[in-house]
Symmetry: C2
Subunit: 367 residues, 2 copies
């Protein structure tokens, strides 16, 4: 059992002890967490990411409208405690089925009839106990691949495994859901981290061995970044590595970048764990059109969604404060054109390598 397992373990026990103490003292047991409603999610200008405010949410057992939810919360916490003690992992779906099974047995009522009832309670507990669901042995969806000069020390049963991320061939190392417990990252000899939106580009750059020649860590989130990938990027930034993000110049690409950088509304409750405000945007940019003439032939039509999103983004104060981003967004809106990272393969497949090297050399990034 890892150190952090013990910690989440202990936290659930303390929560339980608090409830018992309340009952013994004749008080109605309470569960207090932070509110995750939109009004309590704020962009912390100083820190540079989305996080929860201070509004609290309280759940009291002796309250007609809160009693069932209180009981459900305790049931979820008890299950997580069991998983940590057993040292076994499942998902929020597996947790739902365990609740369906055991509560059905004891109480003869379908206490959880839909997973949509148990999901928010897990988040409540994550917030209240200041742990991530991964620390409660709940795996989230995983997605994302990595190559570079670093090693992973992973655990498999009683074995300690060393995985060399420089020797994973065409596949790369698949980034897991949990990058904190029973896993370590050692021998990090790379100079920076490059995150590319598309797996296709990851494969292109990996084949060219660009991460090896330039000594960086090459990550693709394979689209929008999953929790594990966001957390890993944060952890690599904590080791002092600069993080550069490379996406399409369109609504989806920008969304991927800003999610990595500032976090997201959905995960604001663990913002400091998953956001990387230090991240910079390497491209592609609309201003690349001025720098590389051929790209003017490579643009495609922006969709309605792209244009609408660009307009919306101009309203976010962390974007409207940046002259460079405003220029980018307005240029798309005006031209109704967009640019994909794949377009850089137009003249020759390896052109994208030179593009990256130029950008890094000239420190040509957007904030």
């Amino acid at each position: 059992m890892a150190a952090s397992d013990v910690a989440s373990d202990k936290k659930i026990e303390d929560m339980g002890k608090g409830i018992v103490a309340d009952i013994k003292a004749g008080r109605s047991p309470k569960f207090i967490t932070l509110s995750r409603t939109r009004s309590n999610i704020q962009y912390d200008k100083k820190e540079g990411y989305l996080k929860l405010g201070k509004a609290k949410e309280e759940r009291t057992f002796l309250n007609y409208s809160q009693s069932k939810r209180f009981m459900q919360t305790v049931a979820v916490a008890a299950k997580c405690h069991k998983f940590v003690k057993e040292n076994l992992h499942t998902t929020i779906r597996g947790l739902f089925y365990q609740l369906k099974y055991s509560l059905g047995e004891d109480i003869d009522e379908n206490v959880f009839s839909e997973q949509s009832e148990s999901n928010p309670l897990i988040e409540d507990i994550e917030v209240a106990l200041e742990v991530k669901r991964e620390d409660l042995n709940l795996n989230a969806n995983r997605k994302g691949v990595l190559a570079g000069n670093m090693k992973v020390m992973d655990t498999f049963g009683k074995e300690r495994l060393e995985i060399d991320c420089a020797r994973q061939g065409r596949s790369g190392w698949a980034i897991p859901s949990d990058v904190d417990n029973d896993i370590e990252f050692v021998d990090i000899r790379a100079k920076y981290v490059l995150v590319v939106e598309k797996d296709a580009l990851w494969q292109r750059l990996n084949e060219d061995g660009l991460w090896k020649k330039e000594n960086f860590i090459l990550i693709t989130p394979q689209g929008q970044a999953a929790r594990g990938t966001r957390r890993l990027i944060r952890k690599l930034a904590d080791r002092g590595l600069p993080v550069y993000v490379f996406t399409d110049s369109d609504a989806w690409g920008w969304y991927i970048y800003w999610t990595i950088k500032t976090g997201s509304i959905n995960l604001a409750y663990i913002g400091s764990d998953v956001a990387t405000p230090e991240a910079k945007f390497i491209g592609v940019t609309m201003s690349d059109l001025d720098r590389y003439d051929f790209l003017n032939k490579m643009t495609i039509n922006a969709s309605e969604v792209d244009l609408k999103r660009a307009q919306e983004m101009l309203n976010y104060n962390w974007i409207s404060n940046s002259k460079e981003w405003v220029t980018e967004l307005e240029r798309m809106i005006k031209s109704k054109k967009k640019l994909e990272q794949d377009a850089l393969q137009g003249p020759r497949l390896t052109f994208v390598d030179d593009y990256i090297k130029d950008k890094i050399k000239n420190k040509d990034f957007l904030p």
Copy 2:
């Protein structure tokens, strides 16, 4: 350059030589491929998979309505030839941008304005030359993860890398797009292959080390199987390993199974490369409800899509011929209930291990 690279290379050159010969002889050059229209896709009862029939499609240069498409086909073939010669890979998106770039230069006309124009031409060439796009250095989307007692000999630049699929920890080995060229599978010591629909279940079973204890290869396609994963399953079956597939008992799960087993309409043109008719269905089944009493508490409502799909499947002759499958489908339609593989985690997280062991021991499979 691998042996198969040389082959696809040569095939494109022969195609080119044929065109030149036609021109020199004063004939209109022709390109002949098999038709991929629905009417030319048939289920081969004897072989057990979907494949193309014999209907041909001919494209002649000196024909007003076919001339542009003929020229486009040659342009696509020329690009693929270049990629193979360069020993560099891209995607069908990357190919589109190269066509957009170079044709725009030479001809001053946007010969390909949408990728939807170049995509079918790639399939034409795959069929005509009897190669897969992976052999033409075009990577497809990849998805899927593997663990088990086998090793991968992959190539990275000039290096030959050995990847031990028994030492990939929580991540597993990420199955690439191309599992044929410059890659080998050696030291396969496992007894069979278990394919589980969901990555979550893969992680569960991997954590329990079940593949190690029972000595099988554990694969998840992470939903519907990508080309690379289907091809790898086919290749493992070619080595004599039995293949068992484990999905939800619902429309999506059945679709995943039947796609692995019989191939799919979309990939009928490479049916023999990607279908595994020997595959058997391990579960979950509606008849599991009779065997494991607690599962009756674990069913959830079938969706409209599930019910409609079940009804449709009863009309496929390769399904209606199987008494077991008819019983399964009718049982869902009648009860309007479905069962997920996650439900097996209800009593305890490791119950699913016992379920698999029982099924394998009793050879309790659906065809």
